[in-house]
Symmetry: C2
Subunit: 109 residues, 2 copies
């Protein structure tokens, strides 16, 4: 069917999966890393830096923005994209909880 069934899962599972899914693309990882590294909200630079078409980068930015991983502010004729720390904080604590339970899990096979 190609349609992920969400009626079987908790809201937490759906939310976490959504964030991880959006981050689960190398272009979007590269975009996030670039936004962090350049430390300024350059945006069009991503096109030349990553080497995908402008429309493709714009689409990835849209997805990152849609789930709240980044946020954009219009700044003259360009757009300033930066990290949404609230979402990252939420993701960090959820993921760390998972890591903790993995670490505490005894080997069994």
């Amino acid at each position: 069917m190609g349609l992920t069934r969400i009626d079987k899962y908790t809201q937490e599972q759906v939310d976490l999966a959504q964030l991880l899914k959006v981050l689960g693309h190398p272009a979007r990882i590269a975009i996030v890393q670039s936004i962090i590294r350049t430390d300024s909200c350059v945006c069009g630079d991503l096109v030349t830096e990553i080497g995908l078409a402008q429309s493709t980068i714009s689409q990835h930015l849209k997805e990152l923005k849609h789930v709240g991983i980044i946020q954009g502010t219009i700044e003259g004729s360009s757009v300033c994209y930066c990290i949404n720390k609230e979402t990252w904080g939420r993701l960090e604590s959820t993921v760390n909880e998972l890591f903790k339970s993995v670490a505490a899990n005894p080997d069994c096979c």
Copy 2:
């Protein structure tokens, strides 16, 4: 084209994205959580617990196994799936590095 171009990215970006992508599905999150929680390598139980078809669960297990998130050992007529801690350790440190750089990133817009 539907084909993710990997020639534009570093190996680290591709590897991280691959792990996050596989975890980016609620059924696979539920599977991982269940494997951790039950603390034993039950497997067929996932079908009744999650409520997807047996073939669907098997397919998700295959993907988790393929990227090394879990590992399976044949145990009689059933299979014992459990966490692959080496992969989780790698993922944890990579992700934590990312979280650290996000936290250190100054707000700019």
